[in-house]
């Protein structure tokens, strides 16, 4: 447990909070990478995902991309791109965007797909144009799943940015890497704690946002995203029959 004492002493030390290697600067870098990378990935992936979700064309490609990305070792992608582009921020940023795209894409098309086809048909029947169907029906109803996809992407980039320190990108991972090289476990642990706190905090913020964006009056379209739901059944919705058997 004295490792934790060491780690918290590092975090609590005033000198850890100033300068370019200070916690605020490193945290700022980490967040900045994450925001920029996910924003770039969203610009690319959201329109594509919406198009796939609306038309249903290219679905197989989207599934293959989002599923195949799971097998892609992020650490390998970073080192490979860094080897080509060179040390610095460009290589990690390219890697972050590449790694963020599948999650956003999956969220975008899954959100559209989750919209009941009869709802879309009804919208068409009352005379909505295709554009109106997209912007007034599919986007609002699919938003929770899209936010879920963006949430996965953010966490993915936060995690990857920790690894990317090894190719010289800074961020909170730098404490882990410098600690590793100096055989200073306390600093490594401090860096890890900071990243874990950041990731969990982002996770909580996103799960709140994801709930807030559910359009009023929609219950069937509640995000089925696992992490958004605390309880599967709302109290009182279970039938007495089920209660009896459980």
């Amino acid at each position: 447990m004295n490792f934790f004492v060491e780690a918290f002493a590092f975090i609590g030390d005033g000198s850890s909070w100033v300068g370019p290697n200070g916690i605020p600067a490193r945290l700022g870098e980490h967040l900045w990478y994450s925001v920029v990378a996910v924003a770039l990935a969203s610009i690319i992936a959201i329109p594509v995902g919406f198009a796939i979700g609306h038309t249903g064309r290219g679905r197989a490609v989207a599934v293959a991309v989002s599923g195949g990305a799971r097998a892609l070792p992020t650490f390998g992608v970073i080192t490979l791109i860094a080897g080509w582009v060179g040390i610095g921020l460009t290589a990690p940023m390219i890697a972050f965007v590449i790694l963020a795209i599948p999650s956003v894409l999956a969220g975008a098309y899954a959100g559209f797909e989750a919209v009941d086809r009869s709802t879309v048909d009804a919208a068409r029947a009352v005379g909505m144009t295709e554009w109106q169907i997209v912007t007034r029906v599919e986007v609002p109803l699919g938003l929770p799943l899209l936010i879920g996809g963006i949430r996965s992407a953010v966490l993915q980039v936060v995690a990857t940015a920790t690894l990317a320190t090894i190719v010289g990108s800074g961020g909170l991972g730098s404490y882990i890497i410098t600690g590793l090289r100096a055989n200073d476990y306390g600093t490594m642990l401090a860096g890890s704690i900071l990243v874990i706190v950041l990731a969990v905090a982002l996770e909580v913020v996103f799960s709140v946002v994801q709930r807030l964006v559910v359009p009023a009056g929609v219950t069937a379209g509640r995000p089925t995203d696992s992490r958004a739901r605390v309880a599967r059944r709302a109290p009182g919705t279970a039938t007495p029959l089920q209660e009896g058997t459980q």
């Binding site: 070792p73 080192t79 599948p102 899954a110 090894i166 696992s226």
Partner: protein
């Protein structure tokens, strides 16, 4: 390409080590998550387990691998450390699959089993477990693919495995080495995934390949309002499952 042929033995050795690093966590995660998933599904109060598991999965891998030694006393560079970390991630993913899969077993079926005289132990192993099999298999496939990919992160800390190819290839500027590592990781993930599918077909001949019967029956029952509370368990649409991480 020359580098790869002249170092084939080295790469093969890393591949085998990586396989030994990836398979135990998958098996352990399945075994451990069975009782936990059952518990999460069985009692309403214990559903909080799923929230905790979801939050845990948000923790980036490198910080977890760094923090584990301080918590459980393993050595930072020991494979055991990585196996424990990967098992925890596997459990975090798998618990939800198990809970969802068990929750999706029709109430009527459960009650019929009780009515014909199954004890709750028998009912679990002979009725609920086999019926939940296809959904659990889908969850396990996600676990195996992400485990193989995540195991490369151990390379940052110097743990033997395919991750070392990334570090070594980066430091010595051998892109072929990194590429070989990426390709082998993906192939290993896909092969293990394929083996799981085959295993599933052999053990569960009643489930159609690629289309879990439970999932499709739940989809059709969505229209019936009486069972609507059950369909909330649907996990097949969740982009969470598509999530990639590093």
């Amino acid at each position: 390409m020359n580098w790869i042929w002249s170092n084939a033995d080295y790469i093969w050795d890393k591949t085998l080590v990586h396989l030994a690093l990836s398979v135990p966590p998958v098996v352990l995660a399945f075994v451990i998550s069975l009782p936990i998933g059952w518990l999460a599904n069985r009692y309403r109060v214990s559903r909080g387990i799923l929230t905790v598991a979801g939050l845990f999965y948000a923790i980036p891998s490198l910080p977890l691998f760094v923090a584990l030694p301080a918590l459980v006393g393993t050595s930072l560079r020991s494979p055991v450390n990585i196996v424990i970390g990967l098992t925890l991630y596997g459990v975090a993913l798998m618990v939800r699959s198990v809970a969802d899969a068990l929750g999706a077993v029709e109430v009527d079926v459960r009650q019929s089993a009780t009515a014909v005289g199954y004890s709750s132990w028998q009912r679990f192993w002979r009725v609920e477990f086999p019926l939940a099999g296809p959904v659990m298999l889908a969850g396990l496939r996600v676990v195996v693919v992400s485990t193989v990919s995540l195991a490369t992160v151990g390379g940052v800390l110097g743990v033997n495995g395919l991750g070392l190819l990334f570090i070594d290839g980066f430091q010595r500027d051998i892109p072929e080495e990194i590429l070989a590592g990426i390709v082998i990781t993906i192939v290993m993930a896909l092969v293990l995934d394929g083996l799981l599918v085959l295993l599933g077909r052999a053990l569960m001949p009643w489930s159609r390949p690629g289309r879990p019967r439970r999932a499709s029956s739940r989809r059709s029952s969505r229209r019936s309002s009486r069972r609507s509370s059950e369909t909330g368990a649907s996990s097949s649409r969740s982009p969470r499952r598509e999530a990639v991480r590093s």
